[in-house]
Amino acid sequence: MSEYFAMGGYAAFIWPSYGVAAILLVALFLLSARRLQAAERALDETDSAAEEE
């Protein structure tokens, strides 16, 4: 197992490559998803407020 993670001595180059990609891609997805949810919710509230008027 630890032999696998050592990656033939190249662990310090391989894992950070995947780490940077994973962190940035997940972060961008989560930020985009949260902003989309906020936009959907805000529009719902405005719509229902408009119907009450």
Partner: protein, 253 residues
């Protein structure tokens, strides 16, 4: 595509309905292809006879570099459409994709650098491929900065669109840099005459990771386009309500 066909296809309302149907499928495709791609890339593929285990960096580096360029083509073409037809969806498409392209460009630069250190003996070289690719990153940052530089959104979008269109000249320079100049970066090994020069065991994870990053691009681009359209609709509704209020009170009184 004629102007009217483009307009009919690119109707924002139709896009919103289409996007909400497609998004769950795209999310599933992205998750599955990343899982399979990582399985083959990190577990079920052999080390390279020259590069050893570092060949695994290629499975994230090459697809990231491809999406970095694909996304810029998307931003550039959408910007051209926005400048020519003034279509609101084109502006939205460019604005939505730019941060995604910037992220993939950064990932390609970092992973390439981490591969270069053990294989070339250096993290960085000012060769034509690397320098033109670094320029791509600055083009993205400039595009995002211009979008947010003006109080008047439309002015920002116009300025950003001009930069994006002019910047497209960098795409052929990146692609052909390895042929035109004597670069440290190796020439193409997948998209070339006579087919890929990569063994099937390594081509498999590479192609699946291509699919995964491509699905991710469309997933997040469509999510962000939907967000921008809903935010614009919200602004219009609030504006209408605020300007209508004096009449409502006048009627009440």
């Amino acid at each position: 595509m004629s102007g009217s066909a483009f307009h009919r296809f690119a109707n924002p309302g139709r896009f919103l309905r289409l996007a909400s149907k497609v998004l769950p499928w795209l999310a599933a495709a992205t998750a599955i292809s990343f899982a399979v791609g990582l399985y083959f890339g990190l577990l079920a593929s052999p080390p390279d006879y020259q590069q050893g285990e570092t060949v695994r960096i290629m499975y994230i580096h090459v697809p990231s570099a491809w999406i970095a360029m694909f996304a810029y083509g998307w931003v550039g073409l959408a910007s051209a459409a926005a400048l020519i037809w003034r279509h609101p969806l084109a502006d939205v498409a460019a604005e939505a994709a730019s941060p995604i392209g910037a992220v993939f460009t950064f990932v390609a630069l970092v992973s390439g650098s981490l591969w270069g250190r053990p294989m070339w003996g250096t993290y960085w070289a000012w060769d034509a491929r690397l320098t033109s690719f670094l320029l791509l990153f600055f083009l993205y940052l400039g595009h995002i900065a211009l979008l947010n530089a003006f109080d008047d959104r439309q002015r920002g979008r116009r300025a950003a669109a001009v930069l994006a269109v002019v910047g497209m000249i960098d795409l052929p320079i990146i692609k052909f840099a390895v042929d035109w100049w004597n670069t440290l970066h190796q020439p193409a090994s997948v998209l070339k005459m006579g087919g890929p020069s990569i063994d099937a065991s390594m081509l498999r994870p590479l192609l699946i990771m291509f699919l995964a990053t491509q699905c991710y691009f469309f997933l997040v681009t469509f999510m962000r386009m939907r967000t921008l359209l809903l935010e614009a609709r919200q602004r219009t509704l609030l504006y209408r309500r605020n300007t209508a209020r004096p009449t409502a009170t006048a009627r009440g009184a």
